[in-house]
Every structure is written in structure tokens, then in C-alpha cells.
Amino acid sequence: MSFTVVRGLQSEIFIPTVPPVFWTRVSKSLNEMVVALVTAGGVHLKSDKTFRLAGDSSYRRIPGDAKSDDLMVSHGGYDNTDVNKDINCMFPIDRIKELAKEGFIKGVASTHIGFMGGGGNIAAFTEITGPEIAGELVEQNVDAVLMTAG
């Protein structure tokens, strides 16, 4: 069997591409790690400014010792029913505190981060908000980040 070869021929079928991976090797064991939570679920302090429900690329700081009752969600992209009943189902702040207390991890970061994912200005997230959040986490020397999103 022989094949016809046409140079430069491109498929008309859209093939999704996966972006190149970023990867940081884990160098500590869990009981030596200070862990921060980052969520795209629109979580913030009740006393803080709510997110604009359609397209908001800002983020909110959430103190590591914040009480779950002091938190709320403003997010226009998913059903908030469950998270309104219990913030931990999207932002497991009480669970991570318990694991720190037990020594499963070394500690909880002094500041967690909430933003509103699910679309909006992707360029702003990629070029501005992402690096800003990453910078905050690097500054407070966290060893690992647990995210909820997607």
C-alpha cells in the first residue's frame, strides 16, 4: 500500500491542544508543609467586597484563621446551594485546620486566596491576577497549595 503525501496539508477538524505543563517538584513531606487554599469558587469574607457576578478578575485575601461562618460566596458560574449550606464543600478551611492540628501537615498559611473563575477576562487572569496571587503565596513562604476549581 502506498500513501499520497501532500506537504503542508492541515486538518480542518479542530484538535484541542493542551498547553505546556508547569511543574514544581515536591521536596518536603506533608508534615513539614505549610499549606494554602486557593479557590476559583468566589469565596471571600462576608465583610469583604463581593465579586461582580459576570467577569471579575480580582481576588480576595482570606485569613488562615478565618471562621467558616465569616465566609461567603459570590459567583455567577455555578449552583451556590451546597456552598451556602457549608462553605467547606468548596473551601475546606475547617478540614485543613483540623489536619494541621493533628500534625498531618505542618501548618495553615496565614492567608488563603479566593477568586471567581469560570471565564471572564482570561488574559487578565493569566497575565495579571495569576502572577499576583502566586507572588503573594511565594511571599508568605507556603510549601504547597490545595486548589478547588473546575
Binding site: V18, V21, T24, L30, D82, E98
Partner: protein, 81 residues
Amino acid sequence: MQRAIEEAGIPTIIIAALPLVVRQSGAPRAVAPLVPMGANAGEPNNKEMQRAIVKDSLKNLVSIETPGGIVSLPYEYVAHV
């Protein structure tokens, strides 16, 4: 976001309700319990499930050795809406 944090030198893992979306976005590490979007860390007020998901997620942060690795977690919550 996860990529930006990982690029800054902090290892990350994401708890995903939609693992295929997460794969498409190029997440470095992910776990996927059987949960709906909005209850990624487990059923509301089910401390035991949330705790198990958070604990297993952190264990997978250490054990996943392949960039882009997604591990299914054996917890299921179906929201009745």
C-alpha cells in the same frame, strides 16, 4: 491560576469536579472525586467525606510524579436539585 502558582515554584494540586476541563487547561496535578461543580471538596456538612478528600488530595500532591497527572478519588456525592 494553578499553572501560575506552580511556575512561581510552589507545588499545587487541584480538586476537580470536571477533570476533563482541568486536563485541557494544563493543570500540573489533579484529583477527581465524583462530585458536582460547587461541592468539589465533598458533600456539605459531611465532615468525614470532606476530610478524606482533602487528606487524599494532599497525599496525591506528594505521590503524583507525572506532570498533568489526574487521580480519581473513591468518594461520591450526588446533589439532588
